[in-house]
């Protein structure tokens, strides 16, 4: 099997020394982590390795030697390196060598047992795979299932293939702690994290975050305790809460905030990512909300809105009245049953009258209400949006009523007709067998049934028309609310942090790796460059999208049309399920 040597690009220019890394026997691959420079004392090297090993629980060893001929190759060094093999016994013993000038390296792997497989340079046994230590260290392989669990110590068992490489590099972070400037006993060369000051700031933030989290968590728990107090559990209130989208949104936010400020740490990266996403989305939400607030409370926009609102409602009512007048005449040339038409028309007109008076009753308070609503925007854009949708629902309550009456009437008619049509054909619905059986009716049953059937079928168009008109109105309102809720859900569930990460640091979220064959000369080991294959945006969103408080009834279009046809009630998207009440 070909021996694969994963070599960090940052060490390519290091001067000669020992290769420190991990040997993965099952893929016969050597993961080089760092280069130990001369001079060193073997004991110290071994100590260091031992420390790292018990810190990171990765079996790190000296894999071989690395010689980088800056000037003309001196034989002695070569021999010395050969000798080192005796001290650090490892099998196989790698010997990487880079001449000046040529960018092709020579590389051989020595095995003790089989001296025949003594790789003379140019014998193509070894395959060099260059990797960017930093990227591999920081990147997170997807799907995360490939990651080994930290509790179980051994990496070799858990991770397989490239996951093992990633895992090795990720765990031996300890090795990279020691940086260029401090004078350790052993001089290593590996990836150095720049910007120590920044890291200090990060440390401070970490220190500070603990108590703040605690404090906020207490506050939040208090709020939630209040919200769950029994007063709100009484019947009418609880019912209203369940119907008001604002409360839903508030509950959702509350839980999210609790999750963020929960004192215990996130144990795996996905949870961390989740927290970060929530935090970012909340921040964005609040920022947008504040902008809205500033816009509203600047130069008395609220007042204008309030003044605009009442006439709009009046206007809507007027329009409805006209519509009804039209329906009571001969709408679109349809001739409907005059008597029924009149009755229905009057009934609805009376409703509208009630509605207008109601609006006028509460017109003086509207401005104040709006003002407070505007204040709520500081809790976040989503909150104010859901409040808006609730207001719409309240203002169009009469339309809802019309719709319900129409639908009920129509529904009755349809069911009556369907059963009478069965009677008309001399069939009946068998409840036990759930099927239509033929049955022999009495004469009078038949007669009455047919009479009713005729009556219903001639009255159907009238009701159907009313139903149609009001359903259209209703659907209009529902779509508006639905759009608002879609917007809210978008803000709630979009994993902004992950997306930003993908945008700026593509290597952090890795879908896998890809290899590029570097230019290659016969008789030299093959050199590959391992690059990180970033996760596509679609999968980022799919993986990290936050659970929205989605309680929409999942209407497929077919079922929607079916319900419309049979006159079952249709509810705005927020209502849980499609319960009839």
């Amino acid at each position: 099997m070909v021996l694969k040597a994963f070599f960090p690009t940052c060490c390519a220019s290091a001067d000669s020394g020992l290769l420190v890394g991990r040997w993965v026997p099952e893929q016969s691959s050597a993961v080089v982590l760092a280069v130990v420079h001369f001079p060193f004392i073997p004991m110290q090297v071994k100590e260091l390795l031992a420390q790292v090993q018990q810190a990171s629980r990765v079996s790190i060893a000296v894999l071989g030697t690395w010689c980088h001929h800056r000037q003309e190759p001196e034989e002695s060094l070569g021999h010395f390196l050969e000798g080192l093999g005796a001290i650090f016994s490892h099998d196989p013993w790698l010997q990487l060598c880079r001449e000046r000038g040529s960018k092709f390296w020579s590389c051989k792997a020595t095995r003790r047992q089989v001296p025949t497989s003594f790789g003379a340079p140019g014998e193509d046994q070894v395959m060099l795979v260059f990797y960017d230590q930093r990227k591999v260290l920081l990147s997170q392989l997807h799907p995360p299932a490939a990651l080994p669990d930290r509790q179980a110590g051994d990496a070799t068992a858990s991770a397989g293939g490239l996951a093992a490489v990633f895992d090795t590099v990720a765990r031996s972070e300890v090795l990279f702690r020691s940086d260029r400037f401090d004078e350790g006993p052993v001089r290593l060369s590996h990836w150095q994290s720049e910007g120590v000051e920044a890291s200090i700031l990060v440390e401070l933030a970490k220190r500070a975050s603990g108590p703040i989290c605690l404090l906020l968590a207490c506050l939040l728990s208090l709020v939630s305790a209040v919200s769950t107090c029994w007063v709100f559990k009484l019947w009418p209130l609880s019912f209203i809460w369940s119907k008001l989208s604002t409360c839903e949104q508030l509950k959702h936010r509350l839980e999210q905030l609790k999750l963020i400020f929960s004192p215990q740490k996130a144990e795996n990266p996905s949870q961390l990512m989740r927290k970060a996403n929530i935090l970012v989305s909340v921040l964005l939400d609040v920022a947008l909300g504040l902008m809205l607030l500033s816009w509203l409370h600047g130069k008395d926009r609220i007042g204008q809105l309030a003044d605009a609102l009442v006439p709009v409602a009046d206007h809507v009512a007027e329009e409805l009245q006209h519509l009804l007048q039209w329906l009571m005449g001969a709408p679109a040339g349809l001739k409907m049953n005059r008597a029924l038409d009149q009755v229905l028309g009057r009934f609805f007109l009376y409703h509208i009258h009630l509605w207008i008076s109601y609006i006028h009753l509460m017109s003086p308070f509207i401005e104040r209400i709006l003002w407070h609503v505007g204040l709520s925007a500081c809790l976040g854009l989503t909150i104010s949006l859901s409040i808006l949708s609730d207001i719409i629902a309240l203002l169009t309550f009469h339309i809802y009523c019309f719709y319900v009456y129409g639908a009920r009437l129509y529904c009755l008619k349809i069911y009556g007709l369907s059963s009478l049509w069965r009677l008309f054909r001399g069939k009946k619905w068998n409840v036990l067998r759930q099927r239509v059986d033929s049955c022999s009716y009495d004469l009078d049953q038949l007669f009455i049934g047919t009479l009713l059937f005729t009556v219903l079928i001639f009255l159907l168009p009238t009701t159907a028309l009313y139903y149609l008109v009001f359903t259209l109105l209703r659907l209009l309102v529902v779509t508006v609310q639905g759009l608002i809720h879609l917007l809210v859900d978008l803000i709630n569930s979009l994993p902004l942090y992950a997306l930003g990460l993908r945008l700026c640091r593509p290597y952090r979220l890795a879908a896998g790796v890809k290899f590029r064959v570097l230019e290659h000369e016969a008789g030299r080991p093959l050199r590959l460059l391992m690059q990180i294959n970033p996760l596509p945006y679609g999968r980022v969103v799919h993986t990290y999208r936050l659970p929205s408080c989605g309680c929409h009834p999942k209407h497929s279009w077919g079922s929607l049309c079916r319900k419309l046809f049979f006159g079952e009630l249709i509810y705005p998207w927020r209502q849980r399920g499609d319960k009839q009440d």
């Binding site: 893929q27 395959m127 896998g512 290899f515 093959l526």
Partner: protein, 202 residues
């Protein structure tokens, strides 16, 4: 070293298959189709614009013309970016994995790398796909149970006619340890997964 040979694809177009040997343990196969033919492009564009102009003459609305231009541009972009595959490369590195790169006409490249550990087998499969075609595909192991198949990855999107002609140069030389005549399955039902392939000589 490298060599080229040319084939017909399933609709009679020309395809070039090209092999590169970097080393005994690393080979590359790349199927490349001819570039976007200018004639086709002009024909399509002209037809769309003429139609648009016809409409324009009917109803005096210059929106149509601009819309037509817009549509053609968008269509061209979409075609180049999502549909037209210029070349597909298959890089096999022994004991490391298989890497498939398909580069679109717009220069967009999508790469997937499959580790050898995950590969269960590589087979030539037969599928009913409006016509009956042969295609090369990689079977991935199911981590759950042994000799189960979790996924089927088709290798070349451009179906090559006379696939059996080149099965030698593809299968025998690159997947020495794999074998291949599969038992067919409908192209659109990958989740079903085919049965284990039959051993075949090459």
């Amino acid at each position: 070293m490298e060599d080229k040979m040319s084939f017909f694809d399933i609709c009679g177009g020309r395809l070039a298959l090209q092999r590169r040997y970097y080393s005994p343990s690393c080979r590359e196969f790349c199927v490349s189709s001819p570039r976007l033919s200018l004639r086709l492009l002009t024909v399509v564009t002209c037809t769309v614009w003429l139609a648009a102009y016809g409409l324009f003459t009917l109803c005096e609305n210059s929106m149509i013309l601009s819309a037509a231009i817009f549509v053609t541009l968008l269509g061209l972009l979409g075609y180049l970016h999502f549909v037209k595959i210029d070349q597909e490369t298959l890089l096999i590195i022994d004991s490391l994995g298989i890497q498939m790169t398909s580069s679109y006409a717009s220069g967009k490249e999508s790469t997937t790398f499959i580790e050898m550990g995950k590969v269960k087998d590589v087979i030539i499969n037969e599928a009913i796909y409006m016509k009956v075609i042969y295609y090369l595909c990689i079977l991935l192991k199911d981590p759950g149970e042994p000799d189960g198949i979790s996924q089927v990855v088709p290798v070349f999107q451009m179906e090559i006619m006379k696939f059996r002609q080149i099965k030698n140069c593809l299968l025998s030389s690159c997947f020495a340890q794999f074998t291949g005549w599969a038992v067919g399955l409908v192209r659109d039902s990958f989740q079903e997964g085919p049965m284990r392939p039959e051993p075949r000589p090459f």
